[in-house]
Subunit: 384 residues, 2 copies
């Protein structure tokens, strides 16, 4: 057995999700409850009926890659050969980190709070990991100076999940430019920025940095999962500079061969029919509703610039035990903040993708549970 895999943890989010009951208010998993647009499936089915369902090239279908390259128009990353189609953004993250870093020498700098996958991949691959944590005191905002100060001599990649899962923060343009300029001025081999922008199409602020637009060593990763309610379609993509792409495509080829042909036809239809951000207004309304619900429940929250999460402050130091008892005693599933960053201990992440009534009731119960928890905590403390 590979000890690197034995020693790495599994997904806490998935484990909590598995504990839900049929009655549970599920604010846990990060996936849309909206339905996908079946017209794209109809298109893909017609295509397969005519052409079969054969392998694509390792890098993916040329027409889809061209449509994606054109849509985002990242300078220097704007031709089809800068795009590799992947089995969801998860494979893209895995392959990018595994391929571009040398475990014997290179270091990954992870900006937290962040989704746990980046750290887990580094751990599995034996890649040294440095974390720079955005603190509660600044509202978990991306701080360019803090990120730049955390760079070490062996840092070869910075992972920025912006829009951020879980906080919903985006790195603003000024901060993005500061980081890009500083990295370009650095001597030595280039530092890649892995910009995971999977929530890009669900952004509620105009001031969001796009590293693909300002920094040539950007690995930009995205997918249809969140924007088009297709987490199960496992269709993502990765932008990379021309010189990095051959190794990425080779590793992708040996790991999974190529992306799903049917899913690539769906993606192609979405891009050519410009159906990428059509669900955004619904999420914007959900966000308003969730913010109101948090306010009414008396819960402190991080006002999200993007994505479909609201982080709520519950104050419990043992956040895992808090969410476990929240399931057992109040039948509400939420995700403990500490799995995203040490600074999110005492917070929980909720998804605002469900019916607003359920969100309101869920927040009410979370607030109630937090009050009870903190009272008991205070009592325990007093008794010591």
């Amino acid at each position: 057995m590979n000890p690197m895999i034995e020693n790495v943890g599994g997904s806490t989010i998935r484990a909590l999700h598995a504990r839900r009951k049929p009655t549970s208010i599920n604010l846990g998993m990060g996936e849309p409850t909206l339905m996908p647009d079946m017209r794209h499936f109809d298109y893909a089915s017609r295509w397969v009926a005519e052409n079969g369902c054969r392998y694509s090239t390792n890098i993916g279908d040329a027409d889809l890659r061209e449509a994606i390259a054109k849509h985002y128009a990242y300078p220097g990353l704007d031709v089809a050969d800068n795009v590799c189609i992947m089995t969801g953004s998860q494979e893209a993250v895995y392959i990018a980190i595994k391929t571009l870093l040398d475990p014997a020498r290179d270091e990954l700098l992870l900006v937290e709070p962040a989704f746990p996958v980046y750290a887990k991949v580094a751990e599995i691959e034996g890649i040294a990991l440095r974390r720079v944590v955005m603190p509660e005191s600044s509202g978990f905002r991306f701080d360019a100076d803090a990120i730049l100060s955390a760079l070490g001599p062996n840092t070869r990649m910075i992972v920025l999940c912006s829009p951020c899962n879980p906080t919903g923060r985006v790195i603003d343009r000024a901060a993005g430019k500061k980081i890009a300029d500083a990295l370009l001025a650095r001597s030595g081999p280039p530092v890649y920025i892995l910009h995971d922008e999977i929530y890009r199409e669900l952004t509620y602020t105009p001031d969001a940095a796009e590293f693909g637009k300002i920094y040539p060593y950007t690995i930009a990763i995205n997918s249809l999962s969140k924007s088009n309610a297709m987490t199960g379609m496992r269709l993502g993509w990765l932008f990379a500079p021309a010189d990095a792409m051959p190794q990425i495509v080779k590793m992708h080829g040996w790991a999974t061969s190529c992306a799903n042909t049917y899913a690539q036809r769906i993606a192609y239809d979405i891009f050519v029919s410009n159906d990428l951000a059509t669900q955004q207004p619904w999420y914007a309304r959900q966000r308003e509703g969730a913010l109101g619900a948090a306010r009414d429940a008396g819960l402190e929250c991080i006002e999200p610039d993007a994505a479909f999460y609201l982080c709520l402050k519950v104050g419990a130091k043992d956040t895992l035990r808090f969410v476990e008892s929240l399931i057992d005693e109040r039948d509400v599933v939420a995700v403990p903040g500490h799995i995203f960053a040490t600074s999110l201990r005492g917070w929980v992440r909720t998804s605002f993708v469900g019916p607003m009534d359920a969100i309101r009731e869920g927040y009410r119960r979370i607030a109630e549970h937090a009050r009870a928890w903190n009272r008991e905590g205070a009592v325990t403390l007093a008794l010591r």
Copy 2:
């Protein structure tokens, strides 16, 4: 950059495939030319229209895993939790080798001729690889004694691709039993048999060993790609003993999250409607036709027990240069045998999935090219 990935080769088959012209007789890629049954797509689309296209669990949909476990009925591997749904058999192979072996200690024994992916994965992961090559003198048949003699003290996995890509040989029941019995009698930690049985449903002999039926430490891997003409659907699965499964599922989760939900619905419909081997009779007829075509062209071949390949002896020592000139001068794409084993130098692999006229003409040209090549080779030799 990860040097293990930089140093590993890419896919020769894919590279040759990319050199084909519109006029080429393509005997290269290993994928069906038959069309998939669209009724399964219709079922999956109806399901998604009703239920959405959401993540499955990391291990895959329970109903599909149960259907697969029941269908194969491998003793001790016969419940849903012995099956993990993967992104094609390629991901299954990658995850199984990466997870179950410790690069610091364990060794992989690869029985060749075999598809190159196993060796490439071992190379990328830094796992020691030992090869045992079935020679031409015994018709490339699986030889249990030779395989058992090749076991080293650190061997923890034997990879058996049976039915074999490229030879079409299957390991027979007596040889399978001999290997299983010997491994069970061995002291020390168990040796896994990775039985890649992706061509299982296209077998033309009743005497094929199934390790899942006779050996408890079997990792059996299969997919819909070849049996149901869906290489592009990227839907495979892996059987594993209960104690190995949690680590496999965890690694699968961090690499690709979960298999495609739509593809899982297609697979479910195929299993419950018993549509797994319905294309086999067509392949059996193609096999007869291809054997006749080889005979008529005067080419020596390996009579396949399974799959859709015919290996032809062309005698060229530099088999890669032979197939390259075969494309350039005769407009025929074939795969050089040496990429599968040293013993297949001087052979080419052809797929008999296309129209029989094209196969006949392709074989005629291969024979002609081999005669010219060997004449020139003889001349070059005489001139030295």
